[in-house]
């Protein structure tokens, strides 16, 4: 009889996932409607306004020519880091608890990257010429400048977008096949195309396993390189406060930190509103909490190191930079960041805290607010205090910038809401694997 129970549960997984795709409640449409409306009014309208009038619509000024747009860009790239990277590491280390959450984590990666690229479009002065930064043969005979750290960025982010897109898709091929058999209409046609004719033969599983592992192996160094390269956009300059060797690991740790916090937020929402309580459990929150604690300590350490190297350099410009950061115009934001990203996560040391859902949600959101502040400060404090005191000037974001920041969040939510109705948002076959393989004669076997 044991076998009966287990096999019934196998079918339940298919039912649950297909239901999450097909059955759409009123709340979903309300949420999608709000998110779409906010995206339109807070993201696209201000952006079009800015395209029409010029970057002057934002608050940037002469020394601080980079502003919240670039901070958002780093933030979204950072948020993209935990999904695929964490998923790859956990895949290679055979962590069972990854299986329930990795699909949505990877989707987060993909959409964060998408939003990050949109932020670049918003950031640059003439986005209608952005294709000039792509390496393609053209009638002008001109190629991009591969010596530029921004060009490394273009190459790295394009590779990362391709890689993480392929990774999430490849892991989902068997699931597309499973939902293909259960759907009708346009969905059926879509899944027929996406599943490529998957049948689940031993040969197909074997090839998928190999390809998936190879992709995981390739994506880990890629993800680490992406955020290192983003940090080099800053660190390769000679601006005091940016010209630091610690920047690459600082950014990578920060990225994984904010990404993991983002996963906690998304897990909470999926669990609560998609009825995945059976699959996303306290265990996941406990493990993610431990990871967050580790990352917060690492992040704090690197932050202290940054202050130390600034002090140790002994140059007047670095001193001024330090003084400005700790006590200047943006100092309240700095201390807010320390509170949210270094002090508050110490609560995670308690197991009770890690396994309670609402406090974890609040903490994860606080961490991401702190991490956004960190990115903003990297841009704002350093650029407003450079070498020549004659051109020191503070920068305050304009209404357009704040609106686009809110709108980019709504854009991400919109994309994610569309995703959960098209992609199976938890992995059917890997959930089945964790449930235990059915045995002959009612043997009970748990893996």
């Amino acid at each position: 009889m044991q076998t009966e129970v287990r096999q019934a549960r196998f079918a339940d997984v298919n039912d649950d996932v297909v239901r999450s795709l097909v059955v759409t409640g009123r709340n979903y449409y309300i949420a999608l409607g709000i998110a779409g409306f906010v995206t339109l009014t807070c993201f696209f309208f201000p952006w079009f306004y800015q395209l029409y009038y010029g970057i002057g619509a934002a608050g940037m000024n002469s020394p601080t020519v980079w502003g919240t747009y670039l901070a958002s860009f780093i933030f979204w790239i950072g948020l993209s880091h935990s999904g695929t990277l964490l998923s790859c590491v956990l895949h290679l280390t055979n962590s069972e608890w990854r299986k329930a959450m990795y699909r949505s984590a990877e989707a987060m990666t993909f959409f964060s990257l998408f939003v990050a690229i949109t932020m670049v479009m918003v950031h640059i002065g003439r986005p209608w010429f952005i294709h000039w930064a792509a390496p393609y043969p053209n009638q002008m005979g001109l190629w991009p400048n591969f010596r530029s750290p921004l060009m490394f960025d273009v190459m790295a982010i394009m590779t990362y977008l391709t890689g993480s897109g392929i990774f999430i898709y490849m892991g989902a091929i068997p699931d597309f096949a499973a939902v293909r058999d259960r759907t009708t209409g346009w969905r059926h046609h879509l899944y027929v195309l996406l599943s490529l004719g998957w049948r689940g033969t031993d040969k197909e599983w074997h090839r998928l396993g190999w390809a998936y592992t190879f992709l995981a192996v390739l994506i880990i160094p890629l993800a680490v390189s992406v955020h290192s390269i983003v940090s080099w956009d800053f660190a390769l300059s000679i601006v005091p406060g940016l010209h630091q060797t610690i920047f690459a690991p600082y950014f990578v740790v920060g990225a994984i930190y904010s990404g993991t916090a983002g996963i906690v937020t998304v897990m909470f929402v999926l669990r609560k509103y998609m009825n995945f309580e059976h699959y996303i459990t306290k265990l996941h929150f406990d493990n993610l909490g431990k990871l967050l604690l580790l990352l917060s300590l690492l992040w704090t350490y690197i932050n202290m190191l940054e202050l130390f190297t600034g002090w140790f350099s002994g140059t007047s410009t670095e001193y001024e930079q330090l003084k400005y950061k700790l006590t200047g115009f943006y100092a309240p934001l700095y201390w807010e960041m320390i509170l949210f990203c270094a002090v508050a996560p110490l609560l995670l040391i308690s197991r009770k805290f890690r396994t309670s859902f609402v406090p974890m949600l609040i903490l994860s959101i606080a961490i991401n607010i702190g991490m956004y502040t960190e990115r903003f400060l990297i841009v704002a404090t350093t650029l407003s205090r450079q070498y020549l005191p004659g051109s020191w000037r503070v920068y305050v974001p304009s209404l357009v910038e704040i609106s686009i920041l809110v709108g980019s969040l709504a854009l991400f939510v919109t994309l994610f809401l569309l995703f959960v109705k098209i992609f199976p948002s938890i992995s059917i076959y890997e959930i089945k694997e964790t449930m235990g393989v059915p045995k002959k004669h009612g043997e009970h076997h748990d893996t």
Partner: protein, 255 residues
Amino acid sequence: MNFIDRFMASWRKYRKPGYYEEFDYAWTMTVDLDRCTGCGACVTACQAENNIPIVGEKELGRGREMQWIRIERYWEGEYPNAKLSFIPMLCQQCDAAPCETVCPVSATYHNQDGLNAQIYNRCIGTRSCAVYCPYEVRYFNYYDHHWDAPLEQQLNPDVTVREKGVMEKCTFCVQRIRQAKDHAKDDGRRRVKDGEVQPACVQTCPSEALTFGDRKDANSVVAKKMNDPRAYHVLEETNTLPSVVYLKKVRANAD
């Protein structure tokens, strides 16, 4: 010569750092701070020569002024004993320019005259060059600027009017340098003579604090001034190898 030799020859050629040394000219400006009175005539001349827009009071207050050459003022001490010092700041046309390497589309590069050239048509407005520039002399077009009639009549036809989203900066009046080179070629001379070309600011300076010339020519005025013991570069520690040389102000009560 076989293929490998040719390959190695071009490899060596392209691997050589400081490619700019083979350029025709090395235009240099010297700023004698002892002579500078801070009158701001250079700023006005530059504005007129290079079609620099007047951004207006509001934008000036937001820190978006356009001055390819500006007079930086520094006050020392409190009011009764306040001491004022100033320094004209313009694009230093660095030989190891941080702004050049960072442009993803090569909109800024080192040209044959050793100038740090900015190609407005190619610029996509990432503004990273302005961040990388330690002298803060790159100016961004936050808006499309326009000139009320009849002011558009006085725009210089030799200089483009820049559109929004484009970075711009001092060019050492590259249009005048081009013209002088063309004249030199028409006259059958190979090189431009010293003093034949002057940017607008140098031409205007009433106290002759600014001089301009080719430092490759050892007899030029700038080459001589560069050897003055007062000569220094601004932010020399950043190792950008600027082409603008400042001559230190000599104060009576040197402290």
